[in-house]
């Protein structure tokens, strides 16, 4: 009977496709939040499969912090065109001007937190009732607690003490006017599952996921790419290193890892043998407090 058995990647894929179809059926105006990283790229691939031979029935929305890797932006435009999806880009820069927000200061000024404002404005502008996010539960302790269909109030806030029961594969997306639901179709995937799937499905990725030469500065043991957004001190020394990215976020708050991996096989081998988590190794902004993610989510973050 083994021919009627799915391996774990096929099981995860089947679950995610099921979720995508629930989204399309239950919501009037869903949107896929596209960050440009491997998780969003995997989501687009899954969405494509879910609705083939039709097109993906919702737009890709990119909340652009203005601190992106150029390679990621180029890839974003190429991918949207490739799958024939509508791409909506809204810039944090514009929100800062319109709302007279204060730019974060410091050496690596992160606009990560300000994204929430742009996101909530964009939801308002397009009246999105569902935002599809690529968060995985293995990423972080607060994420590990969130439902697949996560209801947010009018202010986009997550209330972790009042989550709806979520039984079997039945997803209740009913909401009141003004509320919206964040749905996470790849909740149950781990970082390694994503990489293995990318390899199995031959999914294209931006070049920065593979080893390349780059000018970096060392900050508390982490390698930060040199860019116009990073403010150097006199004590900083810029060095050239062969690196790759494990996640792709903002240039100011994503660290690179030293690597010689040029192929997916090599990347996967490096990830299997690493002793540090994805977030721990690559995020510069998450170390502040243990509850950093929970607090951001409570305030409307992804």
């Amino acid at each position: 009977m083994s021919q009627y058995r799915l391996n774990y990647l096929e099981q995860l894929e089947a679950e995610s496709i099921h979720i995508f179809r629930e989204i399309a059926a239950q919501f009037e105006r869903p949107a896929l939040l596209f960050s440009g990283g491997k998780d969003s790229i995997t989501m687009v691939h899954l969405a494509k499969k879910a609705f083939a031979p039709g097109k993906i029935p919702f737009p890709l929305v990119h909340i652009d912090t203005g601190h992106n890797f150029p390679e990621a932006l180029e890839f974003r435009d190429w991918l949207a065109n490739e799958v024939g999806a509508t791409l909506i880009v809204r810039k944090v820069e514009d929100t800062i001007k319109q709302r007279n927000l204060t730019e974060p200061k410091g050496k690596f000024p992160s606009r990560n937190w300000l994204q929430t404002y742009t996101l909530l404005d964009t939801i308002e502008e397009f009246k999105f009732d569902c935002c599809i996010g690529g968060a995985r539960r293995d990423e972080e302790k607060a994420r590990a607690k969130e439902r697949i269909f996560s209801v947010r109030d009018e202010f986009g806030q997550w209330n972790p003490k009042l989550q709806r029961p979520e039984l079997w594969n039945i997803y209740n997306g009913r909401i009141h006017k003004g509320e919206n639901v964040r749905v996470f179709p790849i909740s149950n995937w781990t970082e390694l599952d994503i990489w293995n799937y990318i390899r199995a499905e031959k999914i294209d990725l931006p070049s920065i996921y593979f080893a390349h030469e780059r000018e970096v500065v060392v900050h508390e043991g982490q390698l930060v790419a040199l860019s116009e957004y990073v403010k150097l001190d006199d004590t900083d020394t810029v060095i050239k290193k062969k690196v790759r990215y494990r996640t792709v976020g903002d240039m100011t708050c994503t660290a690179a890892v030293e690597s010689n991996a040029n192929t997916l096989d090599e990347v996967i081998n490096e990830i299997i043998s690493t002793k540090i988590s994805e977030r721990g190794e690559t995020r510069i902004d998450d170390k502040v407090t243990e509850a950093a993610m929970e607090d951001r989510k409570k305030n409307g973050y992804f």
């Binding site: 009977m1 009627y4 058995r5 799915l6 391996n7 774990y8 096929e10 099981q11 894929e13 089947a14 679950e15 496709i17 099921h18 179809r21 629930e22 399309a24 059926a25 494509k48 499969k49 879910a50 609705f51 083939a52 031979p53 039709g54 097109k55 539960r137 293995d138 302790k141 607060a142 590990a144 607690k145 439902r147 209801v151 972790p160 003490k161 989550q163 709806r164 029961p165 979520e166 039984l167 079997w168 594969n169 039945i170 209740n172 009913r174 909401i175 009141h176 909740s187 149950n188 781990t190 390694l192 690493t274 002793k275 540090i276 988590s277 977030r279 721990g280 243990e290 509850a291 929970e294």
Partner: protein, 419 residues
């Protein structure tokens, strides 16, 4: 490699979160930075031991109170298997969160504090395990270190629990004496508990047979979404997207669309846009039919020789999940996978008493966490099986029309025998 989903259950402080922490720690599934964070948050503790429960207790309130409030999911892999763990809260108040985690589990680990033995929460979670028909049950008798690793105490608890299991009809039970705190019988066999002859927990989890848990006998499929590209080259394309809930479908199969009752056959099957000759549970697929029929979301496509029940009155076992009690006469939405119908709960026959496991008369309203037998009447017919027969078509939820909350877990009972 296959995938086992399991949940830890049992009363508050029985050591569920500690057990999971221990499993991850001893199987080397914790990374350096996560360990550092753990050590940092444990520093505030008087005894200086690292608190493994903090690996899953991810909410601020949980860390402050030292209890679990909502399910946390953790992922780990050994060379033999992949695991998805749901760490459930033990507190009665958060039973609905426990049910959330339990509804997708292949296996449940029920922890019992060896000092306390079988208590009310042990029974409550066992009732839920039996209602949900979780195929495998491990009873982990924990904190053996606190009772001097006594075989007598262990044996007495096994005898007590066996009684609970019998009255609930729970099968496939494995008992393991453990100390989550010290790591006895978690990953490695305990030296202290030398009288125990079974496997340590992890070895058991790696080897338990789960492949027969999926029903491949009775084909069941519900339409989630109709794919109609309406482009020039796909002008007449009409694909019914959904999940194979159980069984196998092949091209050419004679099928019936329910509840309409129209017969047709399968013209084409696709998975992720690629044509295939057959599909099976739990794949997400697209079905094209030979005839043009009016089909929409929530309709079922089944093999014409294997027809489920179709009725607008159904007997159910129901677990109430909302703080607001069931309001007799109120309409609720019943969501049966992708089918949404209005419904009303009638004839509440009895409730299950958690302590005696006996059926009791219901006085007043049905309240949070109560399990009752009732009849639900729906505005249009449901196409279903008993939960016992096919869990995927035998389960539903009730949604409050005004608050939109999910207020009940509903399990369809077997059809009453015809006289």
């Amino acid at each position: 490699m296959d995938l086992l989903r399991f949940i830890t259950a049992g009363s508050v402080d029985d050591g569920k979160s500690t057990l999971i922490g221990r499993l991850l720690y001893d199987s080397k599934n914790i990374l350096i930075d996560q360990l550092e964070q753990l050590e940092k948050s444990t520093k505030n503790r008087a005894d200086g031991e690292i608190d493994l429960a903090l690996l899953t207790d991810g909410l601020r309130a949980e860390r402050e109170q030292g209890i679990t409030i909502d399910v946390a999911y953790r992922y780990f892999t050994t060379p033999k298997r992949k695991f998805i763990i749901a760490d459930a809260p033990g507190h009665v108040q958060y039973t609905r969160n426990m049910i959330t985690g339990a509804s997708n589990a292949n296996l449940i680990i029920i922890l019992i504090d060896a000092r306390l033995g079988v208590i009310e929460q042990t029974r409550r979670h066992s009732i839920i395990a039996s209602l949900l028909k979780i195929p495998h049950v491990v009873v982990a008798i924990n904190k053996m270190d606190l009772i001097g690793y006594s075989q007598d105490v262990y044996n007495n608890i096994v005898i007590d629990y066996a009684e609970v299991a019998t009255s609930l009809g729970l099968k496939n039970i494995t008992y393991i004496p453990i100390s989550a705190l010290n790591g006895d019988n978690i990953v490695d066999k305990s030296e202290q508990i030398d009288w125990y002859e079974g496997k340590p927990l992890l070895e058991f989890l790696e080897e338990v047979e789960i492949n027969n848990d999926i029903n491949l006998e009775n084909p069941r499929f519900q339409v989630q979404f109709v794919i109609r590209p309406q482009t020039e080259d796909l002008h007449d394309y009409r694909g019914y997207a959904g999940k194979v809930i159980s069984g196998i479908y092949k091209t050419g199969d004679k099928v019936t669309v329910l509840p309409a009752g129209i017969e047709t056959s399968i013209a084409k099957l696709e998975v992720g846009g690629k044509e295939v000759k057959e599909v099976f549970a739990p794949q997400s697929v697209t079905i094209q039919l030979a005839d043009d029929i009016d089909i929409s979301r929530g309709d079922s496509i089944v093999r014409s020789t294997d027809i489920p029940q179709a009725n607008n009155e159904v007997e159910v076992l129901m677990c109430w999940l909302d703080d607001k009690p069931l309001q007799p006469g109120n309409k609720y939405y019943l969501q049966h996978n992708s089918r949404l119908v209005r419904s009303v709960v009638r004839n509440i026959e009895y409730k299950l008493d958690v302590n005696t496991l006996q059926k009791e008369a219901v006085e007043g309203n049905v309240k949070l966490n109560e399990v009752v037998k009732a009849t639900i009447k729906t505005a249009s017919p449901l196409v279903f099986d008993s939960y016992q027969h096919i869990s995927g078509t035998g389960s539903a939820i009730l949604v409050d029309e005004t608050s939109n909350s999910t207020v009940a877990a509903v399990l369809f009972a077997p059809a009453p025998k015809k006289e």
